[in-house]
Point group: C2
Chain length 385, copies 2
């Protein structure tokens, strides 16, 4: 069976499941590293495999602009093109059209916009987006949606949601007969009644899976959490649930506790390039002077290529000097950290200890502040276990 989703353990609302896709099996909860243009910045497909990734996310918007869907199709599809042979999910481009592109005109039929690269006018419709993903052979496709900014008025959010719903119906139709899974996307901003309506309407369409979209667009953490708490339980239990663009370790464990199965986020790779490293003992800002002569690995319990081989002192030196190798090693570490982290969550669900893990994550990653202010000390006694 090419597509299957089997929940085989739970801990509260959290689920331990297995998602079977054409290019392989994804144990969930799972984290999907972001390879916007077909590769996680700084990593080769082999590096990503070695880090333990079972599925990669790529962006249809970026790939459509460069190198173009036709080129990828000519080359045998996205797997052949990228060299990544495990499952692949592509974002529909809706989010990027609303965050990156210029001169958007949203109509009933779809969205017209100008490329952020060269100003060329492009058009996406629900049908063209499903078709493009099918042509390049992804395992999981996402529907075209409209992602409103935050904050937004209730009226604008409702109108946008209606459009997104009409697009979802058309996407569902266009999906028939393709050899891929298609996920619907829940919008509704931070308005509970809109989110609730969206969940009900979307559930009726019987998609391959359901994504919570429209978050990580600037809303406060508590609003984002409220959306997840409200909507995750309303989504069909027999299908995978995906929280788009989220988040910190603490965000992820919270969402897993609400029954979310899939995540993607640029945080591990982007923060790596800025010298912000995730560890089992909290955040390490490697450029901090305290690491100048620190001969320990970034995380003694990590077996990524960086931690197996080099010291905090070397990473400190390379990152301060702006050396490419620093960014590469830091990315290898952070991506590995996230993949180890969700593996740890899977084990915790299976053994019924997720609550304890959530508490230790909270101790190591103080709410939000840790990503913008003073670093958590890596020598703290807290540890995720």
């Amino acid at each position: 069976m090419e597509f299957a989703f089997e929940v085989f353990a739970s801990d509260g609302k959290a689920r331990r499941a297995r998602l079977t896709l054409p290019h392989g099996v994804v144990e969930t909860p799972a984290f999907m590293p972001v390879g916007t243009l077909g590769a996680v910045k700084g990593l080769s497909p082999s590096d990503l495999e070695a880090a333990g990734a079972s599925i990669m996310l790529s962006n249809l918007y970026h790939l459509s602009l460069r190198p173009g869907i036709e080129v990828i199709e000519t080359l045998g599809g996205l797997h052949e093109f990228t060299g990544w042979q495990r499952p692949m999910l592509t974002d529909s481009g809706g989010y990027q059209v609303f965050s990156l592109a210029n001169l958007r005109r949203v109509g009933v039929d779809g969205v017209t916009f100008r490329s952020h690269l060269d100003g060329a006018e492009l058009r996406l419709t629900p049908e063209s987006v499903v078709q493009a993903q099918w042509r390049i052979g992804v395992d999981i496709a996402m529907v075209l949606d409209e992602c409103p900014p935050w904050p937004v008025t209730r009226e604008a959010a409702a109108a946008s949601l209606d459009r997104t719903h009409q697009w979802a119906i058309r996407s569902r139709q266009a999906w028939q007969g393709t050899g891929m899974s298609l996920f619907g996307i829940l919008q509704g901003s931070t308005f509970p009644e809109l989110r609730q309506r969206a969940a009900e309407q979307l559930s009726e369409l019987d998609f391959g899976g359901y994504a919570i979209g429209g978050v990580s667009v600037g809303e406060p953490t508590r609003e984002r959490r409220a959306v997840v708490e409200l909507t995750a339980p309303l989504l069909p239990t027999g299908k995978p649930r995906y929280l788009m663009g989220v988040g910190t370790p603490r965000d992820i464990v919270h969402a897993v506790q609400q029954g979310v199965d899939l995540f993607d986020c640029v945080l591990p790779s982007r923060n790596a390039r800025h010298g912000m490293l995730f560890t089992r003992h909290g955040l390490v800002r490697i450029k901090n002077a305290r690491y100048r002569e620190d001969s320990r690995p970034v995380d003694p319990d990590c077996s990524c290529p960086a931690c197996r081989r080099v010291s905090r002192a070397l990473l400190h030196h390379l990152m301060r000097s702006g050396e490419l190798t620093g960014a590469v090693l830091a990315t290898q570490h952070n991506v590995r950290y996230y993949l180890d982290f969700v593996m740890h969550l899977r084990e915790a669900i299976a053994s019924g200890t997720l609550g304890r893990v959530a508490a230790s994550v909270a101790a190591c990653y103080p709410e939000d502040s840790s990503f913008s202010e003073s670093p958590a000390t890596p020598d703290s006694t807290a540890s995720i276990s």
Copy 2:
């Protein structure tokens, strides 16, 4: 025996030898990838090992400024600091002082200059340079020399050479009792009689090895080749000969034919970051439109991580998009190419076929022009074999 140099085959003036150093054995002719700040840009120590490097070059000038000799010493030396456990050679900093630093004042005793990073005033003497390299535990240290620009008057070159020779004598003295090899450096610009004098004077000092310096500073190829042809045969036969900062595959095979054993150059790594890839069939400028839909590996006969896994089309896409992964894969390829190339030269010397190899290198890499003008076609019938 910690230090040994054994020549065990030859083909004309070319030598096939083995250099034994405290951290391992280097089969020569050998190419030393350049890790200016302690790492080849984009590669981890494991990547460099996997590419087949047996020795890495690092720059004392850069390391002295950042992180500083004391930090490296505190952390247990350059091998501990970088995670590179095989032999390590450091350049003395002479070349960098004359190419990067500001407000140089060269005196009999040494050179005073301002850091190109923060303007701090620093001073190098022949003794301090030997001592710094000894403190960080390199396998091969280089003497402090003065590297004149090109062109330079005969008078200035002669005065500079005298100073360099006095420094060599003092370096030789300071070297006594350290657990490393020390190489002298031959200067004299492109003046045959100065080069000849330098070779004679330097040979008398009985260094661990002899480097031809003062080349790759802008002189025409034929002048550089003339220096190599003149000086290589004048250097002691029982010691390794090192041509500094050279060069193209064609430069290297030429120098090997004159009896040179060691090389370092930023060409493979720097050109990789600009999308210029070395192959057995000539140069591939991967950003060229012709590679947009080319599903072949960069070099079908290469087994680097890039060629084993991804296509020219992906590298074209990643390099055009400025993606980090493109630079990483291209660097892995080019460094591997250079290391495979010198391995091929070693085999050719052993089997007496170096002349044939040199001819095929010349066919694939048209003189100089190939690095600045139109690309050699990768589909040419020429091939290095």
